[in-house]
Protein backbone atom coordinates (compact mmCIF):
# COMPACT_ATOMS: atom_id res chain seq x y z
CA UNK A 1 0.00 0.00 0.00
CA UNK A 2 1.36 3.43 -0.91
CA UNK A 3 2.19 5.56 2.12
CA UNK A 4 -0.37 8.21 1.27
CA UNK A 5 -3.17 5.66 1.10
CA UNK A 6 -1.83 3.92 4.21
CA UNK A 7 -2.01 7.19 6.18
CA UNK A 8 -5.54 7.80 4.91
CA UNK A 9 -6.58 4.30 5.94
CA UNK A 10 -5.10 4.79 9.41
CA UNK A 11 -7.23 7.91 9.74
CA UNK A 12 -10.37 6.20 8.48
CA UNK A 13 -9.99 3.22 10.80
CA UNK A 14 -9.15 5.47 13.74
CA UNK A 15 -12.32 7.49 13.23
CA UNK A 16 -14.44 4.35 12.89
CA UNK A 17 -12.97 2.77 16.02
CA UNK A 18 -13.47 5.84 18.17
CA UNK A 19 -17.01 6.27 16.87
CA UNK A 20 -17.96 2.62 17.41
CA UNK A 21 -16.50 2.49 20.90
CA UNK A 22 -17.74 5.98 21.83
CA UNK A 23 -14.16 6.63 22.87
CA UNK A 24 -11.87 9.67 23.02
CA UNK A 25 -8.59 11.03 21.68
CA UNK A 26 -9.21 10.72 17.95
CA UNK A 27 -7.69 14.13 17.15
CA UNK A 28 -4.24 13.13 18.43
CA UNK A 29 -4.45 9.93 16.39
CA UNK A 30 -5.09 11.98 13.24
CA UNK A 31 -2.09 14.21 13.93
CA UNK A 32 0.36 11.28 14.12
CA UNK A 33 -1.10 9.14 11.29
CA UNK A 34 1.37 10.35 8.63
CA UNK A 35 4.40 9.68 10.82
CA UNK A 36 3.17 6.15 11.61
CA UNK A 37 2.52 5.47 7.94
CA UNK A 38 6.08 6.43 7.00
CA UNK A 39 7.65 4.58 9.94
CA UNK A 40 5.86 1.31 9.16
CA UNK A 41 5.99 1.59 5.37
CA UNK A 42 9.56 2.61 4.72
CA UNK A 43 11.67 3.13 7.82
CA UNK A 44 11.38 0.41 10.42
CA UNK A 45 12.77 -3.09 10.08
CA UNK A 46 9.74 -5.19 11.02
CA UNK A 47 8.05 -8.39 9.99
CA UNK A 48 4.29 -8.63 10.52
CA UNK A 49 4.56 -12.42 10.17
CA UNK A 50 7.11 -12.49 12.97
CA UNK A 51 6.40 -9.60 15.35
CA UNK A 52 9.11 -10.74 17.77
CA UNK A 53 11.85 -11.00 15.13
CA UNK A 54 15.09 -10.52 17.04
CA UNK A 55 16.66 -7.95 14.76
CA UNK A 56 13.52 -5.79 14.53
CA UNK A 57 13.35 -2.08 15.20
CA UNK A 58 11.27 -1.05 18.19
CA UNK A 59 8.59 1.61 18.35
CA UNK A 60 7.75 2.81 21.85
CA UNK A 61 4.47 4.65 21.52
CA UNK A 62 4.37 6.94 24.52
CA UNK A 63 1.21 8.86 23.61
CA UNK A 64 -0.78 5.74 24.43
CA UNK A 65 -4.13 7.52 24.55
CA UNK A 66 -4.01 7.87 20.75
CA UNK A 67 -3.71 4.10 20.43
CA UNK A 68 -6.28 3.79 17.63
CA UNK A 69 -3.77 5.09 15.09
CA UNK A 70 -1.17 2.49 16.11
CA UNK A 71 -3.72 -0.35 16.33
CA UNK A 72 -4.94 0.58 12.84
CA UNK A 73 -1.42 0.87 11.39
CA UNK A 74 -0.45 -2.58 12.72
CA UNK A 75 -3.64 -4.19 11.40
CA UNK A 76 -3.20 -2.60 7.99
CA UNK A 77 0.42 -3.84 7.92
CA UNK A 78 -0.84 -7.35 8.56
CA UNK A 79 0.13 -7.96 12.18
CA UNK A 80 -3.48 -9.14 12.72
CA UNK A 81 -6.74 -9.00 10.76
CA UNK A 82 -8.23 -5.55 10.26
CA UNK A 83 -11.54 -7.02 11.50
CA UNK A 84 -9.96 -7.42 14.97
CA UNK A 85 -10.17 -3.65 15.28
CA UNK A 86 -13.95 -3.96 15.53
CA UNK A 87 -13.52 -5.11 19.14
CA UNK A 88 -11.66 -1.93 20.10
CA UNK A 89 -12.93 -0.55 23.41
CA UNK A 90 -15.52 -3.33 23.71
CA UNK A 91 -15.91 -5.38 26.87
CA UNK A 92 -13.35 -8.20 27.09
CA UNK A 93 -11.28 -6.99 24.13
CA UNK A 94 -7.48 -6.80 24.42
CA UNK A 95 -7.66 -3.57 22.38
CA UNK A 96 -7.65 -1.35 25.46
CA UNK A 97 -8.14 2.38 25.02
CA UNK A 98 -4.55 3.05 26.00
CA UNK A 99 -2.08 1.10 23.94
CA UNK A 100 -1.52 -2.46 25.16
CA UNK A 101 1.51 -4.69 24.59
CA UNK A 102 -0.81 -7.69 24.51
CA UNK A 103 -1.44 -6.69 20.88
CA UNK A 104 1.06 -8.14 18.36
CA UNK A 105 3.51 -5.46 17.25
CA UNK A 106 2.96 -3.26 20.29
CA UNK A 107 6.20 -3.34 22.26
CA UNK A 108 5.11 -1.59 25.42
CA UNK A 109 1.90 -0.54 27.16
CA UNK A 110 1.59 3.15 27.89
CA UNK A 111 -1.12 5.50 29.00
CA UNK A 112 0.36 7.62 31.73
CA UNK A 113 2.50 10.21 29.95
CA UNK A 114 6.27 10.52 30.20
CA UNK A 115 6.98 6.80 30.44
CA UNK A 116 7.96 5.97 26.86
CA UNK A 117 11.20 7.89 26.43
CA UNK A 118 12.96 6.55 29.56
CA UNK A 119 11.92 3.04 28.51
CA UNK A 120 13.20 3.65 24.99
CA UNK A 121 16.50 4.82 26.51
CA UNK A 122 16.77 1.53 28.41
CA UNK A 123 16.15 -0.47 25.24
CA UNK A 124 18.66 1.60 23.27
CA UNK A 125 21.23 1.17 26.03
CA UNK A 126 20.64 -2.59 26.06
CA UNK A 127 21.25 -2.79 22.30
CA UNK A 128 24.43 -0.73 22.69
CA UNK A 129 25.74 -2.90 25.51
CA UNK A 130 24.87 -6.06 23.59
CA UNK A 131 26.34 -4.64 20.38
CA UNK A 132 23.09 -5.19 18.49
CA UNK A 133 21.91 -3.19 15.51
CA UNK A 134 18.26 -2.68 16.46
CA UNK A 135 17.01 0.89 16.33
CA UNK A 136 14.58 2.33 18.84
CA UNK A 137 11.93 4.84 17.79
CA UNK A 138 9.81 6.65 20.33
CA UNK A 139 6.74 8.80 19.71
CA UNK A 140 5.66 11.41 22.26
CA UNK A 141 3.14 14.22 22.14
CA UNK A 142 4.04 17.85 22.73
CA UNK A 143 1.72 18.12 25.75
CA UNK A 144 3.48 15.08 27.11
CA UNK A 145 6.74 17.01 27.15
CA UNK A 146 5.41 18.75 30.28
CA UNK A 147 6.48 15.61 32.16
CA UNK A 148 9.87 15.96 33.88
CA UNK A 149 10.73 12.33 33.23
CA UNK A 150 11.23 13.19 29.54
CA UNK A 151 13.83 15.79 30.40
CA UNK A 152 15.61 13.33 32.69
CA UNK A 153 15.66 10.92 29.76
CA UNK A 154 16.93 13.60 27.36
CA UNK A 155 19.94 14.15 29.62
CA UNK A 156 20.42 10.41 29.92
CA UNK A 157 20.26 9.71 26.18
CA UNK A 158 22.95 12.26 25.43
CA UNK A 159 25.14 11.21 28.35
CA UNK A 160 25.07 7.62 27.14
CA UNK A 161 25.53 8.41 23.45
CA UNK A 162 22.30 6.69 22.42
CA UNK A 163 22.59 7.25 18.66
CA UNK A 164 20.34 4.25 18.09
CA UNK A 165 17.44 6.22 19.57
CA UNK A 166 15.14 8.37 17.45
CA UNK A 167 12.49 10.46 19.20
CA UNK A 168 9.54 11.85 17.28
CA UNK A 169 7.63 14.68 18.91
CA UNK A 170 4.10 15.19 17.61
CA UNK A 171 3.77 18.95 18.01
CA UNK A 172 0.05 19.34 17.41
CA UNK A 173 -0.01 22.36 19.73
CA UNK A 174 -3.05 21.34 21.77
CA UNK A 175 -3.17 19.46 25.04
CA UNK A 176 -6.06 18.41 27.24
CA UNK A 177 -7.13 21.84 28.46
CA UNK A 178 -6.00 24.17 25.74
CA UNK A 179 -3.07 25.41 23.70
CA UNK A 180 0.33 24.10 24.68
CA UNK A 181 1.73 27.60 24.31
CA UNK A 182 -0.69 28.84 26.99
CA UNK A 183 -0.12 25.96 29.44
CA UNK A 184 3.59 25.12 29.46
CA UNK A 185 5.18 26.69 26.42
CA UNK A 186 7.72 24.35 24.80
CA UNK A 187 9.23 26.79 22.33
CA UNK A 188 11.88 26.96 21.15
CA UNK A 189 11.80 23.17 21.31
CA UNK A 190 14.53 22.58 18.73
CA UNK A 191 16.91 24.79 20.67
CA UNK A 192 16.01 22.92 23.84
CA UNK A 193 16.87 19.54 22.29
CA UNK A 194 20.09 20.89 20.83
CA UNK A 195 21.03 22.35 24.19
CA UNK A 196 20.53 18.88 25.65
CA UNK A 197 23.04 17.50 23.14
CA UNK A 198 20.62 15.98 20.62
CA UNK A 199 20.65 16.18 16.86
CA UNK A 200 17.34 17.78 16.02
CA UNK A 201 15.30 18.40 12.85
CA UNK A 202 12.02 20.28 12.65
CA UNK A 203 9.68 19.36 9.83
CA UNK A 204 6.12 19.44 8.55
CA UNK A 205 4.73 16.31 10.16
CA UNK A 206 2.15 15.88 7.41
CA UNK A 207 4.58 16.02 4.50
CA UNK A 208 5.31 12.38 3.80
CA UNK A 209 8.43 13.02 1.74
CA UNK A 210 9.81 15.33 4.40
CA UNK A 211 9.10 12.81 7.18
CA UNK A 212 10.82 10.06 5.24
CA UNK A 213 13.79 12.25 4.39
CA UNK A 214 14.32 13.39 7.97
CA UNK A 215 14.00 9.88 9.38
CA UNK A 216 16.50 8.58 6.87
CA UNK A 217 19.01 11.11 8.24
CA UNK A 218 18.87 9.23 11.55
CA UNK A 219 22.30 7.71 11.62
CA UNK A 220 23.47 5.30 14.23
CA UNK A 221 27.07 6.39 14.11
CA UNK A 222 26.66 10.00 15.17
CA UNK A 223 27.21 9.38 18.88
CA UNK A 224 24.12 11.48 19.62
CA UNK A 225 20.40 10.78 20.02
CA UNK A 226 18.17 12.07 17.21
CA UNK A 227 14.93 14.01 17.51
CA UNK A 228 12.43 14.88 14.80
CA UNK A 229 10.09 17.65 15.81
CA UNK A 230 6.96 17.23 13.69
CA UNK A 231 4.71 20.25 13.33
CA UNK A 232 1.27 18.76 12.99
CA UNK A 233 -2.39 19.70 13.20
CA UNK A 234 -4.57 18.04 15.77
CA UNK A 235 -7.47 16.42 13.92
CA UNK A 236 -5.58 16.59 10.58
CA UNK A 237 -7.54 15.37 7.57
CA UNK A 238 -11.03 16.09 8.87
CA UNK A 239 -11.82 19.76 8.29
CA UNK A 240 -14.20 20.23 11.22
CA UNK A 241 -11.81 18.57 13.65
CA UNK A 242 -8.61 20.38 12.69
CA UNK A 243 -7.31 22.49 15.57
CA UNK A 244 -10.49 21.89 17.59
CA UNK A 245 -9.79 21.08 21.23
CA UNK A 246 -13.14 19.31 21.77
CA UNK A 247 -11.99 16.34 19.65
CA UNK A 248 -9.36 15.55 22.21
CA UNK A 249 -12.38 14.10 23.99
CA UNK A 250 -15.45 13.91 21.79
CA UNK A 251 -15.94 10.96 19.43
CA UNK A 252 -17.45 11.76 16.03
CA UNK A 253 -21.20 11.19 15.88
CA UNK A 254 -22.50 8.82 13.20
CA UNK A 255 -23.21 11.75 10.89
CA UNK A 256 -19.83 13.32 11.58
CA UNK A 257 -18.14 9.98 10.95
CA UNK A 258 -19.75 9.77 7.54
CA UNK A 259 -18.75 13.32 6.76
CA UNK A 260 -15.18 12.61 7.90
CA UNK A 261 -14.93 9.41 5.87
CA UNK A 262 -16.19 11.26 2.80
CA UNK A 263 -13.40 13.80 3.25
CA UNK A 264 -10.87 10.97 3.50
CA UNK A 265 -12.15 9.10 0.48
Amino acid sequence: MKTELFAKQIRRKSLEMVNHANASHVAGALSIADVLAVLYNSIMNIDPENPLMEERDYLIYSKGHTCVALYAALALKGFYPVSDLDTYGKKGSPFISHVSSKIPGVEFSTGSLGHGLPLACGLALAFKRQKKKNNVYCVVGDGEMDEGSNWEAMLFACQNGLDNLCLIVDVNKLQAMGKTVDILDLENITAKFEAFGWICRRIDGHNLAEIEKSLSLFSTSSGKPFAVICDTIKGKGVSFMEGELRYHYAPPTDTQLQEALNELN
Binding site: S101, E107, F108, S109, T110, G111, S112, G114, H115, L117, P118, L119, A120, C121, G122, L123, A124, L125, A126, F127, R129, Q130, G148, S149, E152, A153, L155, F156, Q159, N160
Partner: protein, 304 residues
Amino acid sequence: MRTAFINQLVKEAEKNEKIFLIVGDLGYNVVEVFEKKYPERFLNAGIAEQNMIGVASGLAMQGYIVYVYSIGNFPTLRCIEQIRNDVAYHSLNVRIVSVGAGYAYGSLGASHHTTEDIGVMRTIPNMVVCSPCDPIETVKITSLSAVHEGPMYIRLGKAGEKEVHVDQYSKFNRLDSLDIGDIIPVIKNNENIAVLATGSIVYSLQRAIIDTKLSYDLYSFPFIKPIIIEKLKNIVSNYANIICFEEHQKSAGFGSAIIEQVNDLYAMGTINSYPKIIRKAINDEFIYEVGDQTSLRKKEQLSL
Protein backbone atom coordinates in the same frame (compact mmCIF):
# COMPACT_ATOMS: atom_id res chain seq x y z
CA MET B 1 23.22 -5.56 54.91
CA ARG B 2 24.27 -3.42 51.95
CA THR B 3 27.73 -5.01 51.96
CA ALA B 4 26.24 -8.49 52.18
CA PHE B 5 23.97 -7.59 49.28
CA ILE B 6 26.66 -6.21 46.99
CA ASN B 7 29.13 -9.03 47.71
CA GLN B 8 26.49 -11.63 46.93
CA LEU B 9 25.42 -9.73 43.81
CA VAL B 10 29.02 -9.83 42.55
CA LYS B 11 29.00 -13.60 43.09
CA GLU B 12 25.71 -13.99 41.25
CA ALA B 13 26.99 -11.80 38.41
CA GLU B 14 29.94 -14.13 38.00
CA LYS B 15 27.53 -16.95 37.25
CA ASN B 16 24.95 -14.94 35.35
CA GLU B 17 25.99 -12.45 32.70
CA LYS B 18 22.47 -11.00 32.55
CA ILE B 19 22.77 -9.30 35.94
CA PHE B 20 22.95 -5.51 35.59
CA LEU B 21 23.29 -2.91 38.35
CA ILE B 22 21.98 0.65 38.09
CA VAL B 23 22.53 3.15 40.90
CA GLY B 24 20.80 6.47 41.37
CA ASP B 25 24.02 8.32 42.16
CA LEU B 26 24.16 6.64 45.56
CA GLY B 27 26.16 3.77 46.94
CA TYR B 28 29.54 5.47 47.37
CA ASN B 29 32.06 3.02 48.81
CA VAL B 30 29.56 0.18 48.41
CA VAL B 31 28.90 -0.55 44.75
CA GLU B 32 32.40 0.07 43.34
CA VAL B 33 33.29 -3.60 43.72
CA PHE B 34 30.59 -4.44 41.17
CA GLU B 35 31.40 -1.51 38.91
CA LYS B 36 35.07 -2.41 38.77
CA LYS B 37 34.40 -6.02 37.93
CA TYR B 38 31.50 -5.58 35.51
CA PRO B 39 31.67 -2.08 33.99
CA GLU B 40 29.58 -3.23 31.01
CA ARG B 41 26.79 -4.20 33.38
CA PHE B 42 26.93 -1.15 35.61
CA LEU B 43 25.46 2.32 35.24
CA ASN B 44 25.04 5.43 37.35
CA ALA B 45 21.77 6.86 36.06
CA GLY B 46 22.16 10.09 38.00
CA ILE B 47 19.67 11.71 40.35
CA ALA B 48 16.70 11.02 38.10
CA GLU B 49 14.69 8.17 39.52
CA GLN B 50 11.73 8.19 37.13
CA ASN B 51 14.05 7.83 34.18
CA MET B 52 16.12 5.28 36.07
CA ILE B 53 13.17 2.91 36.46
CA GLY B 54 12.19 3.34 32.81
CA VAL B 55 15.76 2.58 31.73
CA ALA B 56 15.82 -0.46 34.01
CA SER B 57 12.59 -1.67 32.40
CA GLY B 58 14.01 -1.25 28.91
CA LEU B 59 17.12 -3.21 29.84
CA ALA B 60 14.95 -5.92 31.42
CA MET B 61 12.91 -6.16 28.19
CA GLN B 62 16.15 -7.18 26.50
CA GLY B 63 16.82 -9.97 28.96
CA TYR B 64 18.83 -8.29 31.69
CA ILE B 65 18.05 -8.91 35.36
CA VAL B 66 18.29 -5.34 36.53
CA TYR B 67 19.03 -4.24 40.10
CA VAL B 68 18.20 -0.62 40.82
CA TYR B 69 20.03 0.54 43.91
CA SER B 70 19.40 3.71 45.86
CA ILE B 71 18.45 4.80 49.36
CA GLY B 72 15.30 5.48 51.28
CA ASN B 73 12.26 6.61 49.35
CA PHE B 74 14.14 7.59 46.19
CA PRO B 75 13.87 4.30 44.27
CA THR B 76 10.31 3.67 45.51
CA LEU B 77 7.96 6.54 46.34
CA ARG B 78 9.75 9.00 44.04
CA CYS B 79 9.07 6.83 40.99
CA ILE B 80 6.22 4.61 42.11
CA GLU B 81 4.21 5.02 38.91
CA GLN B 82 7.17 3.86 36.81
CA ILE B 83 7.47 0.86 39.13
CA ARG B 84 3.77 0.09 38.74
CA ASN B 85 3.26 0.75 35.02
CA ASP B 86 6.66 -0.06 33.53
CA VAL B 87 8.06 -2.77 35.81
CA ALA B 88 5.12 -4.53 37.43
CA TYR B 89 2.46 -4.22 34.70
CA HIS B 90 4.93 -5.75 32.24
CA SER B 91 6.18 -8.22 34.87
CA LEU B 92 9.82 -7.40 34.16
CA ASN B 93 12.88 -8.71 35.96
CA VAL B 94 13.70 -5.53 37.81
CA ARG B 95 14.74 -5.58 41.47
CA ILE B 96 14.25 -2.36 43.39
CA VAL B 97 16.83 -2.31 46.18
CA SER B 98 16.44 0.37 48.83
CA VAL B 99 18.93 0.92 51.63
CA GLY B 100 17.90 2.58 54.86
CA ALA B 101 14.71 0.80 55.95
CA GLY B 102 12.69 2.47 58.68
CA TYR B 103 14.78 4.86 60.74
CA ALA B 104 18.19 3.59 59.57
CA TYR B 105 18.97 7.15 58.43
CA GLY B 106 17.35 8.47 61.61
CA SER B 107 19.18 11.75 62.04
CA LEU B 108 18.75 12.74 58.39
CA GLY B 109 15.11 13.52 59.00
CA ALA B 110 11.72 12.47 57.69
CA SER B 111 12.75 12.80 54.02
CA HIS B 112 15.10 9.88 54.64
CA HIS B 113 12.84 7.82 56.91
CA THR B 114 11.68 4.85 54.84
CA THR B 115 8.42 4.22 56.61
CA GLU B 116 5.67 3.92 53.97
CA ASP B 117 7.39 1.76 51.36
CA ILE B 118 5.98 -1.61 52.40
CA GLY B 119 2.44 -0.33 52.16
CA VAL B 120 3.01 1.09 48.71
CA MET B 121 4.98 -1.81 47.27
CA ARG B 122 2.86 -4.65 48.57
CA THR B 123 -0.29 -3.38 46.89
CA ILE B 124 1.30 -3.63 43.44
CA PRO B 125 0.45 -6.82 41.52
CA ASN B 126 3.34 -9.13 40.53
CA MET B 127 5.65 -7.53 43.12
CA VAL B 128 7.52 -9.68 45.63
CA VAL B 129 8.34 -7.67 48.77
CA CYS B 130 11.46 -8.75 50.69
CA SER B 131 12.58 -7.37 54.01
CA PRO B 132 15.57 -9.28 55.39
CA CYS B 133 16.46 -8.97 59.06
CA ASP B 134 20.21 -9.54 58.85
CA PRO B 135 23.10 -10.10 56.44
CA ILE B 136 22.37 -13.84 56.28
CA GLU B 137 18.81 -13.34 55.06
CA THR B 138 20.10 -10.63 52.73
CA VAL B 139 22.53 -13.04 51.07
CA LYS B 140 19.82 -15.68 50.65
CA ILE B 141 17.34 -13.21 49.20
CA THR B 142 19.95 -11.86 46.80
CA SER B 143 20.57 -15.41 45.55
CA LEU B 144 16.85 -16.02 45.13
CA SER B 145 16.46 -12.73 43.29
CA ALA B 146 18.99 -13.77 40.67
CA VAL B 147 16.67 -16.53 39.44
CA HIS B 148 13.16 -15.32 40.27
CA GLU B 149 10.94 -14.42 37.32
CA GLY B 150 9.20 -11.06 37.80
CA PRO B 151 9.72 -7.89 39.80
CA MET B 152 10.98 -7.71 43.38
CA TYR B 153 11.42 -5.08 46.03
CA ILE B 154 14.31 -5.65 48.43
CA ARG B 155 14.20 -3.50 51.57
CA LEU B 156 17.59 -3.39 53.22
CA GLY B 157 18.79 -1.89 56.47
CA LYS B 158 22.03 0.00 56.26
CA ALA B 159 25.41 -1.25 57.43
CA GLY B 160 26.63 -3.12 60.46
CA GLU B 161 23.45 -5.02 61.27
CA LYS B 162 24.19 -7.96 63.55
CA GLU B 163 23.46 -11.50 62.43
CA VAL B 164 20.26 -12.98 63.80
CA HIS B 165 20.63 -16.44 62.34
CA VAL B 166 23.76 -17.60 64.14
CA ASP B 167 24.19 -20.55 66.44
CA GLN B 168 24.70 -18.86 69.75
CA TYR B 169 21.34 -17.08 69.45
CA SER B 170 19.17 -19.25 67.34
CA LYS B 171 18.59 -22.93 66.86
CA PHE B 172 16.95 -22.21 63.53
CA ASN B 173 19.82 -20.91 61.48
CA ARG B 174 19.59 -23.26 58.54
CA LEU B 175 18.55 -20.99 55.73
CA ASP B 176 19.95 -23.09 52.93
CA SER B 177 16.51 -23.93 51.65
CA LEU B 178 14.96 -20.48 51.98
CA ASP B 179 12.10 -20.06 49.54
CA ILE B 180 10.18 -16.99 48.57
CA GLY B 181 7.47 -16.54 51.18
CA ASP B 182 9.24 -18.45 53.95
CA ILE B 183 8.93 -17.64 57.63
CA ILE B 184 11.99 -18.30 59.82
CA PRO B 185 11.64 -19.30 63.48
CA VAL B 186 14.27 -17.42 65.51
CA ILE B 187 13.30 -18.36 69.09
CA LYS B 188 10.94 -21.24 69.67
CA ASN B 189 10.36 -22.40 73.23
CA ASN B 190 6.65 -23.13 72.74
CA GLU B 191 5.59 -20.08 74.67
CA ASN B 192 2.05 -18.69 74.48
CA ILE B 193 2.91 -15.51 72.71
CA ALA B 194 4.48 -15.22 69.26
CA VAL B 195 6.35 -12.17 68.10
CA LEU B 196 6.31 -11.80 64.33
CA ALA B 197 8.73 -9.27 62.93
CA THR B 198 10.41 -8.12 59.76
CA GLY B 199 13.61 -6.19 59.05
CA SER B 200 16.52 -5.36 61.29
CA ILE B 201 14.30 -4.84 64.32
CA VAL B 202 14.23 -8.66 64.61
CA TYR B 203 17.72 -8.49 66.10
CA SER B 204 16.76 -6.11 68.88
CA LEU B 205 13.70 -8.25 69.68
CA GLN B 206 15.87 -11.36 69.75
CA ARG B 207 18.28 -9.68 72.16
CA ALA B 208 15.44 -8.42 74.37
CA ILE B 209 13.86 -11.87 74.60
CA ILE B 210 17.14 -13.67 75.32
CA ASP B 211 18.74 -11.10 77.60
CA THR B 212 15.70 -10.48 79.79
CA LYS B 213 14.33 -14.03 79.53
CA LEU B 214 10.95 -12.96 78.19
CA SER B 215 8.33 -15.65 77.49
CA TYR B 216 7.94 -15.08 73.77
CA ASP B 217 8.63 -17.06 70.64
CA LEU B 218 10.06 -15.05 67.75
CA TYR B 219 9.66 -15.44 64.00
CA SER B 220 11.40 -13.50 61.27
CA PHE B 221 9.53 -12.67 58.07
CA PRO B 222 12.05 -12.05 55.26
CA PHE B 223 9.08 -11.72 52.90
CA ILE B 224 6.04 -9.55 53.35
CA LYS B 225 4.55 -10.60 50.05
CA PRO B 226 4.00 -13.40 49.45
CA ILE B 227 3.87 -15.20 52.78
CA ILE B 228 3.50 -18.97 52.50
CA ILE B 229 -0.01 -19.30 53.86
CA GLU B 230 0.43 -22.84 55.20
CA LYS B 231 3.34 -21.69 57.36
CA LEU B 232 1.43 -18.69 58.64
CA LYS B 233 -1.55 -20.92 59.40
CA ASN B 234 0.62 -23.20 61.52
CA ILE B 235 1.88 -20.25 63.53
CA VAL B 236 -1.46 -18.59 64.13
CA SER B 237 -3.04 -21.92 65.04
CA ASN B 238 -0.53 -22.36 67.84
CA TYR B 239 -0.69 -18.99 69.56
CA ALA B 240 -3.62 -17.14 71.05
CA ASN B 241 -1.54 -13.96 71.25
CA ILE B 242 0.54 -12.45 68.52
CA ILE B 243 2.56 -9.24 68.43
CA CYS B 244 3.68 -7.91 65.06
CA PHE B 245 6.69 -5.61 64.87
CA GLU B 246 7.85 -3.42 62.01
CA GLU B 247 9.75 -0.18 61.48
CA HIS B 248 7.06 1.19 59.20
CA GLN B 249 3.76 3.00 59.49
CA LYS B 250 1.03 0.92 61.07
CA SER B 251 -1.20 1.47 58.02
CA ALA B 252 -0.80 -1.07 55.25
CA GLY B 253 2.46 -2.45 56.57
CA PHE B 254 3.65 -5.84 57.74
CA GLY B 255 1.23 -6.17 60.67
CA SER B 256 -1.63 -5.21 58.39
CA ALA B 257 -0.56 -7.90 55.94
CA ILE B 258 -0.63 -10.47 58.75
CA ILE B 259 -4.06 -9.36 59.95
CA GLU B 260 -5.46 -9.49 56.41
CA GLN B 261 -4.29 -13.03 55.92
CA VAL B 262 -5.33 -14.25 59.36
CA ASN B 263 -8.73 -12.71 58.71
CA ASP B 264 -9.01 -14.58 55.41
CA LEU B 265 -7.92 -17.86 57.03
CA TYR B 266 -10.60 -17.40 59.70
CA ALA B 267 -13.28 -16.29 57.24
CA MET B 268 -12.65 -19.35 55.09
CA GLY B 269 -12.78 -21.63 58.12
CA THR B 270 -9.14 -22.70 57.71
CA ILE B 271 -8.43 -21.72 61.32
CA ASN B 272 -10.96 -22.13 64.11
CA SER B 273 -9.93 -19.34 66.42
CA TYR B 274 -8.87 -15.79 65.78
CA PRO B 275 -5.76 -14.85 67.77
CA LYS B 276 -5.41 -11.49 69.45
CA ILE B 277 -3.02 -9.53 67.26
CA ILE B 278 -1.22 -6.43 68.50
CA ARG B 279 0.58 -4.29 65.92
CA LYS B 280 3.68 -2.44 67.05
CA ALA B 281 4.48 0.07 64.32
CA ILE B 282 4.80 3.79 63.69
CA ASN B 283 1.69 5.58 64.78
CA ASP B 284 0.70 7.59 61.70
CA GLU B 285 3.18 10.40 62.28
CA PHE B 286 6.36 12.04 61.03
CA ILE B 287 9.27 12.83 63.32
CA TYR B 288 10.41 16.43 63.54
CA GLU B 289 13.47 16.06 65.78
CA VAL B 290 16.97 14.62 65.59
CA GLY B 291 17.41 11.05 66.67
CA ASP B 292 19.33 7.93 65.72
CA GLN B 293 17.62 4.66 64.84
CA THR B 294 17.63 3.40 68.43
CA SER B 295 16.18 6.56 69.90
CA LEU B 296 13.52 6.89 67.20
CA ARG B 297 12.44 3.29 67.71
CA LYS B 298 12.14 4.08 71.39
CA LYS B 299 10.15 7.21 70.70
CA GLU B 300 7.70 5.14 68.66
CA GLN B 301 7.64 2.47 71.41
CA LEU B 302 8.95 -0.21 69.07
CA SER B 303 10.09 -2.51 71.87
CA LEU B 304 8.74 -5.40 73.91
